[in-house]
Amino acid sequence: MIREKYADVIQELFRRYPERKSAILPLMHIAQHEYGYMSEEAMQEVADILGLNPTHVKSIAGFYTLFYEEPVGKYVLEICNDLACALRGADEFVAMASNKLGVPVEGTTPDGLFTLKTVMCLGACDRAPMLQCNLRFHEHLNEEKFTALLDHLHQEASSDQVESAVVEKIVSYIN
């Protein structure tokens, strides 16, 4: 489905890189957006587009933290609890978030809306606690702001207007 839907993007990517294989990360970002996660089907499609063995795509998917090989919630809440953030209360913030969502870290809420993860430094240490949700940064957080964010996301989800930042990023430049 990517091949048809993103035909222009694929063509442009192939033009940009001297070697096709280089397009694997952008294509995987797109595939993950389209399939929700890096399912075997998604990997197979990327492999077909690039003329690679699907094993290679799986290999890449396993290496990078931004690719999910298991289904995830509509929103992936990735809280940085690396050292610099932890000095400013990130660990407590994770505990609070987990409590609020009612799922442990790496868990997904029963409604399939939220997956909670902790991640290494996201380059926002001066604005901790912070999290990234589907690649959008939310900084200077506290419990109150977190609750507000969840509320907002609940609303957005029901309006079915979920955006994927990274695909927008890759696609916007090309158009």
Binding site: E40, N53, P54, T55, H56, V57, K58, S59, G62, F63
Partner: protein
């Protein structure tokens, strides 16, 4: 600048080619720098860090470039900041390497300790135990104790099938990436990869079927731990109980050198059995690799379906008989029909058997009606003249050289040749591929010529003509032709895909003429080392069959027969009319192969076989022969290298070696007492066949030091492939090496008029109809089933979809096959794989 560099390793000087890695240079003087990730057949990656050593370089004066010296005159050395990996650093003049310092010892012990922190240390139940690089290097360099707290150890999956053939033990894997690099870099099947990262790295595959590669077994040889094991050998035996016996691939004309690991087994009734097959190094033949058919296809030798006793037909029934009775029955049956006897042989048996067979038919029965059964490819007489020259090694082809491959799918037919041709292309050789349909080798080709169905001869003739005119044209054919003629070296492979037997004869001659053309310097390729023609024979000893005169028109050594006899087709036809009344089949099954309907008017039919084949069922006498695993003999590979194999397992039943049976029949026919050992047959043969002059079992068993230095105690370097101690074989010289023959006059090479859908047979390495390979249970899920490849338009007009079961009517046969509509064939052509052999180009009907 000189091409040699001298360095000093622990005080010992060694001079090696420029660009060589320190680890290899040290190896040349028996300084075994320990390695895990490095493998001499793969590019270094420097990742395991086991090979850390101290490396110093002479200090030079910035201005003058002079080497600065200490007061005692020795050069001043700079050892840099720390240890360096011997596997990634290239030698440099004046380099000094230290491998025995405290720092080096500590580094080695440290790496071992690190590796063992996540290793299960389950050596007592590990297949690799006893031949495990990790085990050996731990003994040699480890500290003996670990400070790692075992409660912190990771638990991982232990019996992960990566496919039908290979199992993975995740706990044992040390992440050296040898297997993944082998698959990606050496054989171009990147079907296994790492997943995750850091300590969570693990090998996995997403290919379908799992670990989908004809080369998968090799990863178990080069894996430095017991992480990868074959489904065939897992938990089969402990390496130290195994007795190695040298042998040869029984399938392909590459003649890959192998070793049987054998053992006396109680559960086999105290018989010596084959536990596994490993490659045996022969750098000129298969280096240290074998394909999976070679590795896993041996089970036919020990099959319970083997014939174990002679059978004689009595009252219409084949009943067990003594050897003497059976041999006498053969002698009687043949004598009875002396004026009308014929022989057909297969091209799998030994030279010794073939030689005696032709002798029996020609001298014993006075008949020239002798042929190869199911011959697919002609031109043995041509390769005798312009074949690959003696002393050639495909490994030496590279930049400036050229390879032409015509009408063959090497990847399916002779994977070792596919690999070596591919690697030559990667080293820079110009590869030209001509075929009627795409084949895998094309991916590496500089020029691809896809001729139309039936146009192989005209297309190659055009190429020859383009090569003749010293033209500077820039059409692809001229460019390709020029690159062939003007290459430093030229090797040509030709096969039989889509060609009739007769056409292959013409093809061989066209290509011979190409090799005889003179280049800019007035030199022909034929006759020079690393040049010549190679026939992609269908079987392991087709070359030997040609050499031994299993041919109606040639005696051993290609001597023309004064009054040629009948070929196979005529013999079979004559059996129908009664002109031939006695037929001796040596391992041939014309009924099973669909070339012979019944006995016709034969008075006597004798079949010498391993199995109760359809033809054997019709015979008057069935003689149970031994497989190649039970006796000794020689095969001659497609590069005309005569090689020995040795007896490895206990005799199955009362079977006897082919040559011995024939000699005994001969004796009964009054030919006198035959030779009593294969070596003596070979001695007679070497006298009768001029090309084999000077060869004997001793000379064939000679070995010389090979590089890289694998095997022996340092298992970690080359993997478990065996050092060759049993013979590298001897190539025989083509005629062109002494005198260039005249070019051939060529017959008709015109394009035929074709109508309708044309069908050709496409080779499959694991052809499901193969009598021998079917006995290998591990390969059974992978056997190629009848599949017909169709072009989209041809499929559409017949309303056939990918995956449909269809009927293929061809050559008087109706074959049920699965349709594959996936862009791999040109329009108007169908390719049938995994079926019985279909010769040449045939008009076919394909329908649902």
């Amino acid at each position: 600048m000189s091409d040699l560099v001298t360095i000093t390793v622990d005080g010992v000087e060694v001079t090696v080619p420029k660009g060589e890695l320190v680890v290899d240079a040290a190896k040349r003087i028996q300084n075994d720098i320990p390695v895990f990730c490095y493998h001499p057949k793969m590019a270094p990656v420097g990742m395991c860090r086991m090979c850390l050593v101290e490396i110093g370089l002479p200090v030079r004066d910035r201005a003058t470039g002079e080497i600065l010296r200490n007061p005692d005159g020795t050069p001043q050395l700079n050892f840099g900041k720390g240890l360096q990996t011997a596997c990634t650093v290239q030698v440099a003049p004046g380099m000094v390497v230290r491998t025995t310092t405290k720092e080096v010892d500590e580094a080695r012990a440290g790496v071992i300790e690190f590796l063992l922190t996540s290793h299960p240390l389950d050596c007592p139940i590990c297949d690799k135990g006893g031949e495990c690089p990790l085990q050996n290097l731990t003994m040699a360099h480890g500290v003996g104790t670990s400070r790692f707290d075992f409660s912190l150890k990771m638990k991982m999956d232990k019996h992960v099938p990566l496919g039908d053939l290979i199992f993975l033990d995740r706990e044992r894997c040390i992440q050296c990436a040898r297997c993944t690099r082998f698959q990606a870099e050496v054989v171009d099947d990147p079907v296994i990869g790492f997943h995750n990262r850091g300590r969570s790295l693990e090998i996995m595959t997403l290919s379908d079927p799992g670990f989908d590669s004809y080369w998968s077994g090799n990863t178990t040889d080069i894996c430095p731990v017991g992480a990868l094991t074959t489904a065939d050998f897992r938990f089969g035996a402990r390496p130290w109980e195994l007795i190695p016996v040298a042998s040869l691939d029984p399938y392909s004309p590459a003649g890959s050198n192998i070793v049987f690991s054998t053992r006396i087994e109680a559960k086999a009734g105290g018989r010596t059995v084959i536990k596994r097959i490993l490659p045996r190094q022969n750098e000129a033949v298969n280096e240290i690799w074998i394909d999976d058919r070679t590795r896993f296809g041996h089970h036919f030798a020990e099959s319970p379906n083997r014939l174990t006793k002679p059978l004689v037909r009595k009252n219409g029934q084949l009943v067990e008989a003594s050897w003497d009775e059976a041999l006498q029955a053969v002698a009687d049956g043949l004598t009875r029909n002396k004026g009308a006897a014929a022989g057909l042989s297969n091209d799998r048996v030994s030279n010794e058997a073939l030689y005696l067979f032709q002798n029996l038919i020609r001298r014993g029965l006075g008949s020239n009606h002798l042929d190869l059964s199911g011959a697919r490819l002609a031109g043995g007489d041509v390769t005798a003249k312009v074949g690959l020259s003696k002393g050639s090694n495909l490994k030496e082809l590279g930049k400036g050289d050229a390879i032409l491959v015509v009408a063959s799918d090497l990847h399916e037919e002779v994977p070792i040749w596919w690999l070596r041709v591919k690697q030559a292309a990667e080293r820079g050789a110009t590869l030209v591929v001509m075929n009627v349909r795409p084949t895998r080798l094309e991916q590496k080709a500089a020029h691809v010529f896809r001729y139309g169905a039936g146009e192989a001869l005209s297309a190659t003739h055009d190429l020859l003509n383009a090569a003749k005119v010293d033209s500077s044209g820039d059409d692809p054919l001229t460019v390709a032709a020029a690159s062939l003629v003007n290459a430093n070296n030229l090797v040509i492979f030709y096969g039989y895909e889509g060609l009739s037997y007769g056409e292959t004869d013409t093809l061989a001659r066209i290509l011979a003429n190409l090799l005889l053309l003179k280049n800019n310097e007035g030199q022909a390729h034929a006759g020079r080392v690393n040049n010549g023609l190679i026939a992609v024979w269908p079987h392991n000893n087709t070359q030997g069959a040609w050499d031994m005169g299993i041919h109606p028109a040639f005696e051993p050594g290609y001597k023309a027969v004064a009054n040629p006899g009948m070929g196979e087709a005529e013999i079979i036809a004559a059996a129908q009319t009664g002109d031939i009344r006695a037929l001796y089949l040596l391992g041939a099954d014309p009924v099973g192969d669909g070339r012979m309907a019944d006995r016709g008017k034969l008075d006597f039919l004798v079949v010498q076989e391993l199995f109760r084949t359809p033809t054997a069922k019709l015979a008057d006498v069935v003689l149970p022969a031994q497989s190649w695993a039970e006796n000794d003999g020689t095969f001659t590979n497609g590069e005309r290298r005569v090689q020995r194999y040795y007896p490895a397992i206990s005799t199955v039943g009362l079977s006897r070696p082919d040559w011995q049976i024939i000699a005994q029949v001969g004796e009964k026919l009054g030919q006198g007492k035959g030779p009593i050992a294969a070596s003596l047959v070979f001695r007679d043969m070497a006298r009768a066949v001029p090309q084999y002059k000077g060869m004997d079992y001793r000379s064939l068993a000679q070995v010389e030091k090979q590089w890289p230095d694998v095997g022996g105690a340092d298992l970690y370097y080359g993997g478990t492939s065996y050092e060759n101690k049993s013979g590298l074989g001897q190539q025989w010289a083509a005629e062109a090496e002494t005198k260039l023959p005249e070019p051939y006059t060529l017959g008709d090479t015109n394009k035929p008029e074709l109508m309708g859908l044309q069908l050709i047979y496409g080779a499959a390495l694991y052809n499901g109809t193969g009598r021998l390979i079917r006995e290998a249970e591990v390969l059974r899920p992978r056997l190629a089933q009848p599949t017909v490849l169709l072009h989209e338009t041809d499929a559409q007009t017949r309303k056939i979809n990918h995956g449909d079961t269809v009927q293929v009517n061809v050559n008087g046969l109706n074959i049920e096959a699965v349709a594959a509509v996936n862009g791999h064939v040109p329009a108007g052509l169908a390719v049938l794989r995994g079926s019985q052999f279909i010769p040449g180009l045939q008009r076919a009907a394909v329908h649902k």
